[in-house]
Symmetry: C3
Subunit: 240 residues, 3 copies
């Protein structure tokens, strides 16, 4: 039997790569690209219009294609009931091998990096940029236009109203920086002792914003800090 | 092609107006009225039975209609995976032009006003009354029987356990009144200076409950205050 | 008309008992047992693979069955858009007459007792054990491997990061024990005065962990305490 269920709806303008699985009841609306090896669960909802009052709520299932598209990266997993919207000016993007878990939501123009996990029930607002290897806990929520830098962890149910720096752990209402994701530092191939150096900077209120200074003790974490700095004006979370 | 997808299920007892769009996989169960110009997204779930242990979990898809109905107002937008239940004694109602966004939920007998936004992932319990132009942030939750008055804003992830007065901004766990929705006051056509007058009352602990007194400095906001007062016994949120 | 909608997908390896209702768009993937009298709502998603990176994301809809199964107990209610995953080493289980409400989620290997309510929008992580008559409020979330003992109540939106003892009421971020579910004590057939005795123990920091001592004043609540104690190493929530 086909691994693309005949009970899925794959609309006009949807390009599906090799070795893709799509479950019954999934709906994919164009424009949309699904790269090789992606797994799309039953009832997943990909490519409906942006939730913006200024943009038309079109009927893409009837061939009325609009908006800037969606891209599901190679090997990504999109689980049951997850929702990913069309971009308004760029492709809403799920990076390679990332997981968008059941009933999670990426709004228009979100860029999600590679090897990231957006857990069950998470809602991410429009325009957000979420880095590689980020892990966002169940039922958490990210305000539109926020940045969550590579390697960061967001705790269950946390409403993220500020930007989250690299490898930070964030939790609570309002959200606070509660530590550094030391396991993530090591898994990403860095010297595990760098986690301590990074935490010392955060604890001292240093978030690497507004200038080009990069302390020597950050070692190979410098790339993630440069990524963070490149995202424009930032308002980081406070330290617990 | 039809803008009502042949892959939607529109059951017995569902009346659909003109210029309505319904996406693939949407399920509409009667009794239900969808007014002109509404947009029902893929996978939306409208008209299943109230979640009350005292009422039957009937199979409306097989023609076993029960309960008090659902009404989707003209021009309303119901997004992917949103859930709206049958009323138990009145029609569960979405007001004209309101948005019930992806994976949001209105329980039995909820009355949602016009031009309101119920954001992605929100859950609203049974019997709630939500006024015009209310905005409820992503993944927030409203306890059954609560009142959210016109123009109010509820922050992301906030569990609303008390009633929310007109144009109030509410945020946190437990929820607190953190300000007045000044933008909403202006957009609703009021003198923007009235926001300040309203905030002064809330800050002084005056929530316009229990008598007919209406201070003169509220001007055209008096209608919203009268609406609030008319909802019966009220237990407003505390001020931050 | 059939009370099992022809628009539901009931896959290979799914055994369906007598008097079961299944709505349009529901997806059931095997291995899975649905016991007599269960009600499966439109768009419910039952039996997709565990969300574990170490396990294959198989296409059960195409006959590729794997994993340890799902069991839906007699008379259980699974509402629209709810998600229940395959177990990895035991059947993910919903107890008799329990309600898994709309857009709620039980991860792999969760054991949910009888007569429990998992409210709308709740997410429960892998391996959790949830006792009989538990009530979890809307949009709450339970961390993987946590225990929620019989009769406990979890407040709306609460992120449960610790274990919850019998008949405890838990609320907030971080979650705190705020009282005892006296109504639940009485409904479960116990002397209502036992609620006070139990609260006195919790308030004194006594959570019945680590030894076999069972105070005499707990009366018929002793069974629930023994259940709790039998769950292995426990880290209970703190008292408010």
């Amino acid at each position: 039997m086909s691994e693309i269920s005949p009970l899925a709806f794959v609309g006009e303008g949807v390009e599906v790569g090799a070795d893709v699985k799509i479950g019954p009841g999934a709906v994919l609306l164009g424009p949309c690209v699904v790269e090789d090896g992606a797994w799309i669960g039953p009832g997943a909802q990909i490519g409906a219009p942006p939730e913006m009052s200024s943009l038309p709520q079109n009927a893409a299932w009837a061939g009325d294609l609009q908006h800037a598209g969606v891209r599901i990266g190679a090997g990504a997993v999109i689980r049951e009931g997850a929702v990913i919207h069309q971009g308004s000016y760029r492709e809403t993007t799920v990076g390679a091998r990332s997981w968008v878990l059941n009933r999670a939501y990426l709004a228009h123009d979100v860029l999600l990096g590679a090897d990231a996990t957006v857990s069950a029930g998470v809602s991410i607002g429009g325009h957000c940029v979420i880095g590689d290897r980020v892990n966002i806990g169940m039922n958490a929520v990210v305000h539109q236009r926020r940045i969550v830098a590579p390697g960061a962890m967001v705790g269950m149910g946390t409403p993220v109203t500020r930007d989250v720096p690299p490898f930070a752990k964030v939790y609570g209402t309002p959200p606070r920086l509660t530590g550094v994701n030391a396991v993530g530092v090591e898994r990403a191939g860095h010297d595990p002792r760098l986690a301590e150096a990074l935490l010392a900077h955060y604890s001292a209120g240093e978030f690497f914003i507004g200038n080009g200074w990069l302390p020597g003790d950050l070692g190979t974490l410098g790339d993630a800090v440069q990524w963070w700095r490149a995202q424009g004006e930032l308002r980081p979370v406070s330290v617990a």
